[in-house]
């Protein structure tokens, strides 16, 4: 089983290599494009390397997440392949085993799942796997043709004669009966070979027939008549040809019942398989790529918000999220020359030693570095501003600190999340990404949410607290720096002490249990409850029992950890090296608004054309602008219906205003055919862009399709 992800990742690795090499072909240009100095190529190399790790990681994650559902699918198909030969099968011969695979609405992400499903099935179950797309199968004929092409065209490379057979059969009719004939010959050969192969093994008693798997990639998009006919035809041959269908369903299983009438769905033996939800998928990608100290490239809080927002609000597509990550990486390495330092620690230190003069100057101009300089002694300040060598040394030190910061940041973040994620109403967010965003954005401990979270933590019952601390200890075990080990030690001490309290304060802890239980009940008016609890808390401070003393120690300890390690990234010197922060650019590029751009281009041509003569004040119409822009601006002043002649006159007036200021007395009303033609062309361009359309309501009028303006 472990081989399958490997092979699939090899095949995809091939793809990675391809795309990389394609880019490398353009390398000279790209390097040149980046290089306003010598290290452009370095940055490009680092970026490429990072991207490859991103891609590899996402594929591994996808494989891991899909493994379960794919395995159960393969098991399902195997099971039916076996049942084929048994008696049970014969009794309901016409039922075709069907797997309904729920994939979620993020259709673009399905391709990868289907690819690995195909690979898995072909490797471990049957060579006869066909996958069809709704677009290619508008009619039954085309669907059958597609199935036959994929099955028979490929053949099974068992024999040399195979080739001749298939080519012969291709000449014959494109029907399932032809497929049936072909299948008989091929499967005979296959089983023969399989038997020869497993001659020595024991389980060759029953010649198991290999199922023919047909995967309908996008079930919803298929024409229901096509599907019905295809299923009817296949069920006629089900006895000779063991079909297995897989429906890739984006919405819900009831879609099957909506598409197929009972007479057809009674021919199927449907079982539902659920793949992982896309939000879980995103969470694991997030954990692996963003909440990971090993991955040097970081995103600022705003950028994360943009990317996650696109995911949650628009498409649910993890692939698009990764694409967004890739884009921000490219953008970062392109726009930030200091990103040479954005790599693994050793490499970064090396390149810090060999920083160019220009880059040293750039470091001096980094806001975070300037802030750092200001905190130093005056002597040191002078040295930092004058000596390049010294800057390089300090830079190395700061980089080390930055890496250390990340190494401590993530375990503590995870601890805090595991502590607070079970609190009612999730004061610090349900997902770790929300917590991460608020941590790198501002001082977490100054927020109200953090206060309320701590207060809720202060009333935790003992067993809950111990369980939460245990989880934290688990997380910290994987962190292998010295300070984290210290923290772990302290956590374990607390756990030990809490457990030692067992006998002493049993009634108190039970009292706390009652409180927390009560809190669970009255979730509705939390505010009131909180108030009473706070009162109780204040009252109790007078006579705290040992458990409460210990608990407040624990909370204080956690608070101190947060204050020490979860400082905002922006305060770290040299954070600009690793953090990509221009969320505006990202939003502009990824969440495009074509109509806004068109309108911007038409009303402010200077924005795109960058021609000085086009600079105008608001409200005026420059005659130097392209005809289309003039016509557009004029039409904004009109109502729903536009008189073409008036429009033309206004257009000519604007045109001639520039040409000749003085001669307006004679030629004002007149216009030549050239201007007329230009006007007509501009109007038809407007129509093409969807701003006006011809109307039959009034002669010589066009209707406006957009509103507002002036």
């Amino acid at each position: 089983m472990s081989e399958i992800p490997q092979t699939s990742s090899v095949s995809k690795g091939c793809f990675v290599f391809k795309s990389a090499s394609k880019k490398r072909k353009r390398h000279v240009e790209v390097g040149g494009y980046l290089a306003d100095d010598s290290d452009g190529s370095d940055r490009f190399r680092i970026c490429q390397k990072l991207w490859e790790t991103v891609q590899m990681n996402t594929e591994v994650i996808q494989d891991q997440l899909n493994k379960k559902v794919l395995d159960s699918l393969a098991e399902f198909i195997k099971k039916h392949g076996l049942a084929c030969s048994s008696d049970v099968w014969r009794q309901r011969a016409s039922e075709i085993p069907t797997a309904a695979l729920m994939l979620g609405v993020n259709v673009p992400d399905h391709a990868m799942t289907f690819r690995s499903l195909c690979n898995l099935l072909q490797d471990s179950v049957t060579p006869f796997v066909v996958s069809v797309h709704a677009k290619e199968c508008a009619a039954v004929k085309l669907l059958i043709q597609k199935v036959l092409e994929q099955l028979m065209g490929k053949g099974v490379s068992v024999d040399e004669e195979q080739e001749d057979d298939t080519s012969l059969l291709q000449k014959t009719q494109c029907t399932i009966s032809a497929l049936c004939q072909w299948y008989k010959t091929v499967s005979k050969k296959c089983t023969k070979v399989a038997l020869e192969r497993t001659e020595n093994s024991t389980n060759n008693d029953s010649p198991q027939s290999l199922p023919v798997v047909v995967i309908f990639k996008d079930f919803e998009a298929f024409n229901s008549h096509v599907l019905q006919d295809f299923i009817l035809i296949c069920s006629r041959y089900a006895q000779e040809l063991p079909f297995v269908f897989i429906f890739g369903i984006a919405t819900s299983p009831s879609a099957i019942q909506h598409r197929l009438p009972h007479s057809v769905s009674s021919l199927l033996c449907i079982e539902v398989f659920h793949s992982l939800s896309c939000t879980q998928h995103l969470a694991s990608v997030f954990d692996k790529l963003i909440l990971n100290s090993q991955f040097p490239f970081k995103l600022s809080s705003r950028v994360i918000q943009v990317l996650v927002g696109i995911f949650l609000y628009h498409d649910f597509s993890v692939q698009n999220f990764v694409k967004g990550l890739q884009f921000s990486m490219l953008e970062h390495f392109n726009s930030q020359p200091l990103s040479v330092l954005c790599c693994q620690k050793q490499e970064a230190l090396l390149s810090a030693k060999t920083l160019s003069k220009q880059n040293v100057e750039r470091i001096r101009h980094l806001p975070s570095f300037m802030r750092y300089v200001e905190t130093q002694e005056p002597q040191e300040q002078v040295r930092l501003l004058t000596s390049d060598e010294h800057v390089k040394e300090v830079c190395q030190k700061l980089l080390k600190n930055l890496h250390k910061y990340h190494k401590h940041y993530y375990p503590i973040l995870q601890c805090l999340h595991s502590l607070t994620s079970s609190l009612p109403k999730f004061p610090l967010g349900k997902h770790i990404r929300e917590l991460h965003v608020s941590c790198i954005e501002k001082n977490l401990w100054e927020t109200e949410e953090y206060d309320s979270a701590l207060q809720l933590l202060r009333i935790l019952a003992k067993d809950e607290l111990v369980a939460a601390l245990r989880k934290c200890a688990e997380i910290l075990k994987s962190a292998n720096t010295k300070r984290m080990q210290n923290v772990l030690q302290q956590f374990e001490d607390f756990i030990g002490k809490l457990e030692a309290l067992e006998g002493v304060s049993s009634e108190d802890s039970s009292g706390n249990g009652v409180i927390s239980a009560k809190m669970e009940y009255q979730k509705t008016d939390l505010f009131q409850l909180q108030k009473t609890l706070l009162e109780k808390e204040s009252r109790r401070t007078k006579k705290m029992n040992p458990f409460e003393v210990l608990r407040s120690q624990v909370i204080e300890f956690i608070d101190s950890l947060v204050r020490e390690y979860l400082t905002p990234a922006e305060l770290q010197p040299l954070n600009e090296v690793c953090y990509y922060s221009s969320s505006g650019v990202l939003r502009q590029r990824l969440n495009v608004t074509p109509r806004t751009s068109i309108q911007a281009a038409l009303s402010h041509p200077f924005y795109y054309l960058q021609n000085e003569s086009l600079k105008t004040n608001a409200g005026t119409i420059s005659s130097a602008a392209p005809d289309l822009c003039i016509v557009y601006k004029l039409h904004l002043e009109c109502g729903r219906l536009i008189n073409l002649y008036d429009w033309l006159e206004a257009f000519v007036t604007v045109m001639s205003a520039a040409e000749d200021q003085d001669a307006d007395s004679e030629e004002c009303g007149k216009f030549d055919s050239l201007k007329h033609a230009r006007f007509i062309q501009a109007v038809s361009e407007m129509e093409f862009l969807g701003f006006v359309k011809s109307t039959k309501q009034k002669t010589d009028h066009v209707a406006r399709l957009t509103w507002g303006g002036c």
Binding site: H80, Q91, R92, E95, P97, T98, A100, G104, V105, V107, A139, V140, K141, I144, Q173, T175, I176, D218, E220, A221, D229, L232, I233, R236, A250, T251, S252, P253, S254, A255, I256, Q257, H258, H262, S263, S265, S266, L268, C269, I270, E271, V272, S277, C278, T279, I310, F311, L312, Y313, H314, D315, F316, N591, V592, T593, P594, R595, T596, G690, K693
Partner: protein, 444 residues
């Protein structure tokens, strides 16, 4: 009964075994045989047999053909995506695949007739040849001249050939408006309950007595007869549930004579089967699985149980807006989505036909502009009209939650309909904290 089955020209013992294998269809069998006449006699050119699903039409006809070893070509019209397939199958059944290979690439009817004539002159029919066309209703969608031509094929090819059409619908729905040769109509009536019992009892389990199985079938029909008379389906259900019926017997809790006890055991089970496995909510495989490890008492969730769909945030609002646009009259939009709307009285305000519930009338088409206008007023934050909003609309269409009305190439103002139910939209709007019922005109 085999006494009645005396048809000259056919071996008697085959006829007898045939009659045994076709219980409750003796009358149809006799009439068919007498229609066919002796093997070498010319038969009626075309016979149209109709009757509901699983009333034994194809089974009877094909059994006659196979048992009496008559030359025949059986074609399922579903498979014939073009008339060429039909011709190919007929020719290859009568004259072998080599003859069929002589058909040109896109054979026309005259090609078929020519080739048939040529072949039949080489090997003239000693017996009547039969062409059996199953699911003949599909032929109506093919070439309009095909059906009339096949009905009088005997004349056209000048050969002893009979076309038998099998269909679930009546001949009146077939008759082309240009008129055609009237085939002989022949009805297969539905099986009565007693007949169903007789047929189903035939496949009893070898390890139990036929009486027990018959009583089981009686119980089964008692539950299912009111909803399903499809023999195939009933047989399927009988097989699926028999193991459960026998369970008390195997455990030794009951004897074969304790019919009441057995009935009490199986009845609720069958009721459940009617709600699940009969509707294909649960596959038969899962049903059997469930019977085996019943101790866990896991209730299988049917297909329609997973109705929940996860959608991106704005897609949800787009769907809600589409639902509102589909089920509210356009004139009421002012009232719902403008802040300073006047008081509009429901009764005076609307035309007569708008007073009936819009939910009874079904979704109405609406233009894209209206959808977006409602969307922007429904969604709580400011949304830029980005490309992804528009692409979400089209992805809702591919998911068939919306359906596009009219031509696909309407670029100017595409129209849509909302294709989801009220329950679904209420569930969706609950996840985004939007009270959709407040905005629906029907529930005002």
């Amino acid at each position: 009964m085999s006494v009645t089955l005396q048809c000259p020209g056919y071996p008697e013992d085959t006829l007898r075994s045939l009659a045994d294998r076709l219980p409750c269809r003796e009358t149809q069998l006799t009439s068919l045989l007498s229609l066919m006449g002796q093997p070498d006699q010319y038969s009626y050119p075309s016979i149209f047999i109709y009757g509901h699903r699983a009333t034994g039409k194809s089974h009877v006809v094909l059994s006659i053909m196979k048992d009496l070893e008559l030359p025949h070509a059986s074609v399922d019209c579903v498979e014939c995506v073009s008339s060429g397939h039909l011709f190919y199958q007929v020719l290859s059944a009568f004259f072998g695949p080599d003859a069929a290979a002589l058909l040109p690439r896109c054979p026309s009817l005259s090609d078929f007739v020519r080739l048939y004539k040529q072949m039949s002159s080489n090997s003239p029919a000693s017996q009547t040849r039969y062409i059996i066309l199953d699911r003949a209703e599909r032929m109506r969608d093919m070439d309009f001249s095909l059906l009339p031509a096949l009905l009088r094929l005997q004349e056209l090819v000048n050969d002893n050939v009979t076309v038998i059409l099998l269909s679930e619908i009546v001949w009146e729905k077939f008759r082309p408006n240009t008129g055609c040769f009237e085939p002989l109509l022949f009805n297969f009536p539905d099986y009565s309950k007693a007949e169903l019992v007789q047929i189903l009892s035939q496949d009893h389990h070898p390890s139990y007595t036929p009486e027990l199985y018959a009583s089981y079938i009686n119980i089964l029909l008692g539950v299912f007869f009111s909803v399903c008379r499809d023999l195939r389906e009933l047989r399927h259900l009988a097989v699926l549930n028999f193991a459960k019926f026998c369970e008390p017997l195997e455990k030794g809790e009951a004897r074969e004579s304790d019919i009441h006890k057995l009935w009490k055991n199986i009845e609720p089970h069958l009721q459940r089967a009617m709600q699940t496995v009969y509707l294909r909510e649960v596959s038969s495989m899962q049903w059997e699985q469930q019977q085996m490890d019943e101790k866990e008492a896991t209730t299988l969730r049917g297909l329609s149980a997973h109705a929940h769909i996860e959608l991106p945030y704005y897609s949800k609002f787009l769907l809600i807006a589409a639902y509102l646009a589909s089920f509210n009259p356009a004139r009421t939009d002012r009232r719902f989505f403008l802040k300073s709307h006047g008081k509009i009285r429901k009764t005076n305000f609307l035309k007569k036909h708008e007073k009936t519930s819009n939910h009874l009338l079904g979704p109405k088409p609406f233009p894209l502009d209206r959808l977006l206008a409602i969307f922007y007023s429904v969604v709580d934050s400011r949304v830029a009209p980005t490309a992804s909003i528009f692409s979400q609309i089209s992805s809702l269409v591919t998911l068939q939650l919306l359906s596009q009305v009219g031509h696909d190439d309407q670029l100017d103002s595409p129209k849509y309909k909302c294709a989801v139910s009220l329950d679904f939209i209420i569930a969706i709007s609950r996840t985004v904290g939007f009270d959709v019922v407040k905005y629906l005109y029907d529930f005002l």
